[in-house]
Symmetry: C2
Subunit: 354 residues, 2 copies
């Protein structure tokens, strides 16, 4: 159907040792490339040896930030099969990001087919040690050689893959996060709900401040009133307050996380009350003070579930659940990783076996 | 002092015809490159033949938008000399953008010296036809090969140059601009005051809407209240109301334009009242209705002064000064281009002759 050309590498790289992986340092032997040219559309799908990208210095990606990306993973199950987790949801989100950034839509079927073939070609690159996976990074960059500010007439859609280590080396460690006061990541009407480079560039400054104060991530508030909780650096955020799990609604300025959506479905299926709504930082502080803030956790492809052990807002340091992982967080983690590594049945039909 | 290596091209390109130039299509024979490596700092300043940039697909610029840029021009004066307009102000602003984007500061003296040498090497590329100039694009991109979200440990600072045509081919044509309602370019606490790719990517959508409705640019309102005037696509904005020139103050979300600053200085020197303050779109509409909205114009390196002949807000189309260039706009245009082309004395000490 889709005619994807495959050029095998003649120089396979040595694979890194499983305990050396970390995140995003090593890349597999092949990459997928698809070109866009105005008047022709997307063309020339191909799998080629992993290699540098050569662009004119006037290529628009270097100047005007027109880019989008995705992040998902391939896993080796306990039965030794290769498995993808909700890749269709990622390509759907990529197209929503494209729409916001004035990038022409990709064919989601072709993208999925390309990804399957790429993972098949580099199957040996999916690490098998517990907790490891192959992180997959689809991205699109504007490549027209032109300094005028307008949507590019040329793009490249590329998929690269990086074997990555276990996020939690010695069991799940709750993280410390800090509410950012001075800087803003996104605002309604901006690009916050798209997965585009500019959002991450603008967030670096808050991250720098968090680092300096010994916090691992920033919790962003909304850009208009500086009051409503949005999300963490690269995770959506959940609060368990008096037995109900609350997460900010998709308001146009936060990323619609696929892990977030999956967790909401799992919570519902277990009969745990869950609400998507506006939640102010004051409500969180109040719940902390009256003893009903039971759990806080982030959700994202990289960390799966990241329990928050300490939350700092202004001068107050709130210790959550004695700095330990809570019951619901643990259940969600076990359920999701169970499905991803094929240990429990995928009753949600989220996984694709290759 | 600064040891800038120069490698001359062995294959000089043919120069485009003066009437074919346009903006940002052609590039001179050489480029300046400076590398940054964590632990070493900025190193290896060099002028080399204009050539492609080759980067690993995991280079951070392709993913997380960590980039800044500048735009300025070199002119050939009526006496045949090459002249730069306030290049020091551009490199100062570049460093302010760097600070916001967590990019290490450059040595402004070195940058200026590099620019002078680069313009000298490619002096023949400065076009001489009336209204033409050599557009100069310094930019910095994050080049570390790593998918982790953090400030890059490697960068390239590059300067490319593009001969560009006269912005106004048949005299100054007032433009039609339109106030954007749905999308937001920037918000206080975000990256609006930095010259970084993400701001331009996020503005493309508004531009697309303006194009569709037959307007040449978008006028952005503030991201918090959607009420206060900010700036136009790539220009700052000025309103002459009842004899006083008003422009939005530098509030943290608009670009501190160098043309803007220059125009304020010229207005002051001529005794024309000028105010930098918050101005709501309602105030503009009211002035229009009571007949005191005398002139509207944008300022920027590319257009110098761009008179606005029609301003659309919601369903109202306001015709400004009968769609013609106003007296103050014309005076500012004549003064600035007079200084840039060496026709009138530079009493502000803005120009550097090479
Ligand atoms: C800003 C941001 N929010 C949330 C998430 C979580 O999204 P997902 O669960 O799809 O990985 C990510 C990571 O992808 C992110 O970058
Ligand atoms: C967003 C924006 N505002 C204003 C300006 C005008 O700035 P300057 O006068 O320094 O060219 C520019 C162009 O550089 C711009 O991109």
């Amino acid at each position: 159907m889709h005619n994807i050309k495959i050029e095998q590498t003649s120089q396979p790289k040595e694979k890194p040792a499983p305990d050396q992986l970390g995140f995003g340092h090593y890349f597999s032997d092949h990459m997928f490339v698809l070109d866009y040219t105005e008047g022709i559309g997307w063309h020339d799908p191909r799998i080629i040896p992993y290699q540098p990208i050569s662009l004119d210095p006037s290529a628009m990606i270097f100047h005007y930030g027109q880019s989008v990306f995705e992040g998902l993973k391939a896993y080796i199950t306990v039965d030794g099969e290769a498995l993808l987790f909700r890749p269709d949801a990622n390509f759907k989100r990529l197209n929503r990001s494209n729409e916001r950034l004035c990038i022409p839509a990709i064919d989601e079927q072709l993208a999925l087919e390309a990804l399957k073939q790429l993972v098949a070609v580099d199957r040996e690159w999916i690490p098998t040690a517990p907790g490891t996976s192959l992180y997959i990074r689809p991205f699109i960059i504007a490549t027209e050689e032109n300094l005028g500010v307008h949507p590019s007439k040329k793009y490249q859609f590329i998929i690269i893959m990086s074997p990555s280590g276990s996020y939690y080396k010695e069991g799940i460690n709750p993280v410390k996060i800090m509410v950012e006061q001075q800087f803003v990541r996104a605002v309604k009407g901006g690009t916050g709900e798209a997965k585009t480079g500019g959002n991450y560039a603008s967030a670096l400054k808050g991250q720098e401040i968090a680092d300096r104060e010994g916090y691992s991530q920033t919790l962003w508030l909304d850009g208009k009133e500086n009051r409503y909780v949005e999300e963490v650096g690269s995770m959506n955020i959940f609060f368990k307050i008096a037995g109900t799990v609350v997460t900010p609604e998709l308001n146009g300025s936060i990323l619609p996380g696929i892990t977030r959506d999956s967790m909401i479905q799992v919570l519902k299926s277990k009969g745990i009350p869950v609400e998507e709504r506006r939640i102010s930082i004051d409500e969180v502080v109040e719940a902390y003070h009256n003893g009903t803030l039971e759990e806080v956790f982030g959700t994202g492809t990289a960390a799966v579930i990241s329990p928050v052990g300490e939350l700092k807002y202004l001068d107050e340091k709130m210790s959550i659940n004695k700095g330990e992982i809570g019951e619901v967080s643990q259940m969600l983690y076990d359920t999701l990783t169970g499905i991803q590594y094929g240990k429990i049945e995928d009753s949600f039909d989220w996984t694709i076996r290759l």
